[in-house]
């Protein structure tokens, strides 16, 4: 009995002596560091099973725990298109809403979010509601080189590009495309688009967003025999467009209009005999050092161009040579390299989780899973 009493006294005294936890404040919300660390990444989840409710999740792929990995998110509705400013603390999401969820009056809009708070700070109405609803890439919404204009791909199914004045937050023009698609920023204030007949058209715009000049590269590839993927990597103004059968087409986008560059072979003869080909949902990326990454699969044939693959090949685009083959831990679907001097290679894998590799060594570091993602089929390294 004396022992029990002593223990009770010690417990009571101990709790009395310990400091109370401080009272928490109501209403506290965090903000994010500016600029974001270079290795952070936006994961775009299109929510394929309920597209109304897509989301953009900002993650730190270097962090070891979910608590440190998940930095914040915002919504992106109906297979949205995404773009980031490098000169303003804001990002842009072209999305579609209905007044009653999936029905009622339609509103297409570019929502402007601020980077520190991930809050919508402005909207640019896309009058006419022509925004393309298409599996996301990196070139359905793009800023001009000088970041004065924002350009959105429209599809009704007639194709055109909506031009917005970023500062004024208004749609200022619509450029009709002659059977072409996508928005590849070109020069100071223009864009180029690939066309159905294997040609490319370029427009340079004036400060008001009106067409100042037009230029066409006549048919330079065969869409049936060896189509260009519409998902290039653009490194220092040079667009690198892989083809279905394993070639690379360079297109210089740094000037007033697109200029056709070199075409080179991505697949050495040995692997060509095994029908190694590029493929995937978002199969290309590049790091700040200009190393280009490409998802590859063996036994390629007609119809395998979206299958993904078991390897990522790394290329030196200046020397036009392969530097490295990275064998993936799990079959890869989409990739993105992070910014900065020690890039990570992120791979959306077949399980819809994200594998993180050290890009220079190909060593698998961790898998990002259970962070609220369902179909995260494209990633965007922060700018």
């Amino acid at each position: 009995m004396r022992t029990v009493l002593l223990a009770w006294l010690m417990m009571t005294m101990g709790s009395a002596l310990a400091a109370d936890l401080p009272v928490d404040n109501v209403g506290k919300t965090l903000t994010l560091p500016q600029p974001y660390p270079a290795h952070w990444v936006w994961v775009q989840d299109i929510a394929f099973e309920h597209m109304l409710d897509g989301k953009m999740i900002l993650v730190d792929p270097r962090a070891a725990t979910l608590r440190e990995q998940f930095k914040g998110m915002f919504n992106s509705s109906n297979i949205a298109a995404f773009a980031q400013s490098a000169t303003r603390p804001e990002v842009y999401v072209a999305e579609t809403f209905y007044e009653r969820g999936n029905r009622g009056a339609r509103t297409d809009v570019v929502t402007v979010y601020d980077k520190p708070n991930l809050r919508p700070i402005a909207e640019i109405p896309l009058t006419g509601n022509k925004r393309a609803s298409v599996m996301p890439g990196r070139h359905a919404l793009a800023l001009s080189g000088d970041e004065s204009l924002l350009m959105a791909y429209f599809f009704t199914p007639a194709t055109s590009v909506g031009v917005m004045d970023v500062a004024k937050r208004t749609l200022v023009n619509e450029v009709t495309l002659p059977g072409c698609a996508q928005v590849y920023p070109t020069g100071k204030r223009g864009f180029s688009s690939l066309c159905a007949n294997g040609s490319m058209v370029s427009f340079q715009l004036d400060a008001a967003g009106k067409v100042a000049s037009t230029h066409v590269i006549e048919r330079f590839f065969d869409v049936d025999q060896d189509a260009l993927f519409e998902k290039p990597v653009i490194v220092n103004g040079m667009g690198y467009f892989p083809t279905f059968t394993g070639n690379m087409q360079e297109i210089n986008l740094s000037g007033e209009y697109a200029v056709l560059g070199a075409r080179w072979n991505l697949v050495p003869e040995t692997e060509r005999q095994q029908n190694w080909r590029p493929g995937g949902a978002m199969l290309t990326s590049a790091d700040d050092a200009g190393r280009l990454y490409l998802i590859m699969h063996p036994d390629g044939k007609e119809g395998t161009h979206k299958d993904g693959g078991p390897e990522v090949w790394v290329f030196d685009v200046v020397k036009q040579t392969r530097l490295q083959r990275i064998t993936l831990k799990t079959w890869g679907v989409s990739i993105e390299a992070t910014r900065g001097p020690d890039p990570l290679l992120l791979v959306t894998n077949a399980d819809m989780n994200i594998d993180v590799y050290e890009a220079k060594t190909g060593k698998h570091q961790r898998t990002l899973a259970h962070f609220g993602q369902e179909t995260p089929i494209i990633m965007h390294a922060v700018r």
Partner: protein, 177 residues
């Protein structure tokens, strides 16, 4: 080992237990799970012929429309309406069929002919969620819309909300692809 992410995605979306070794193996099991291995209209004909000891003549439209390897699905990307309250050529109740589409050219193993298939999306409700299927034969990037299955083809409908896809025969291809 997962050798095709589309299979994996299909598995995720159907929440099924499946073989992971191949698209055909997986989808075969998925079809059995979903419909209990039910026979399809032309299959009894083939059985009758087989019973007479004759080689099975080509059936006219063979296969199971609720499986990804059904011949009309050679360039489809989405949910099969046959699993969503519709059929291979009719939209489920309360959805609207999009009037504009992408097309594929698929070989019918029943008669050996290549058919032009129109993939019309059924629209106005959220994703069906059953029987996801993505095959990309002769699919091309979105700069050639008429053969691009990456678009949400709920175009020209009241709502762009995508529900599922039907496979309509437009005719026999006059020239093999």
């Amino acid at each position: 080992m997962i050798t095709n992410w589309l299979d994996a995605l299909t598995e995720r979306m159907t929440r099924g237990v499946a073989q992971r070794t191949s698209r055909r193996g997986f989808l075969g099991s998925m079809g059995a799970t979903l419909i209990g291995g039910a026979a399809f209209p032309l299959l009894p004909v083939a059985r009758a012929d087989a019973a007479e000891g004759q080689p099975s003549p080509p059936t006219q439209d063979p296969g199971d429309p609720t499986t990804c390897d059904y011949w009309r699905n050679c360039s489809i990307d989405g949910y099969l309406c046959s699993c969503c309250g519709g059929t291979m050529n009719s939209c489920p109740p309360g959805t609207d069929m999009a009037p504009v589409t992408w097309i594929g050219t698929c070989r019918n193993p029943g008669d050996g002919k290549d058919y032009i298939i129109s993939y019309n999306d059924c629209c106005g409700k959220t994703s069906c969620g059953a029987c996801f299927c993505n095959r990309n034969e002769r699919d091309r990037p979105i700069y050639r819309p008429g053969t691009a299955n990456d678009y949400n083809w709920c175009v020209g409908t009241k709502s762009i909300a995508y529900h599922c896809t039907v496979t309509l025969i437009l005719g026999v291809a006059t020239k093999s692809p």
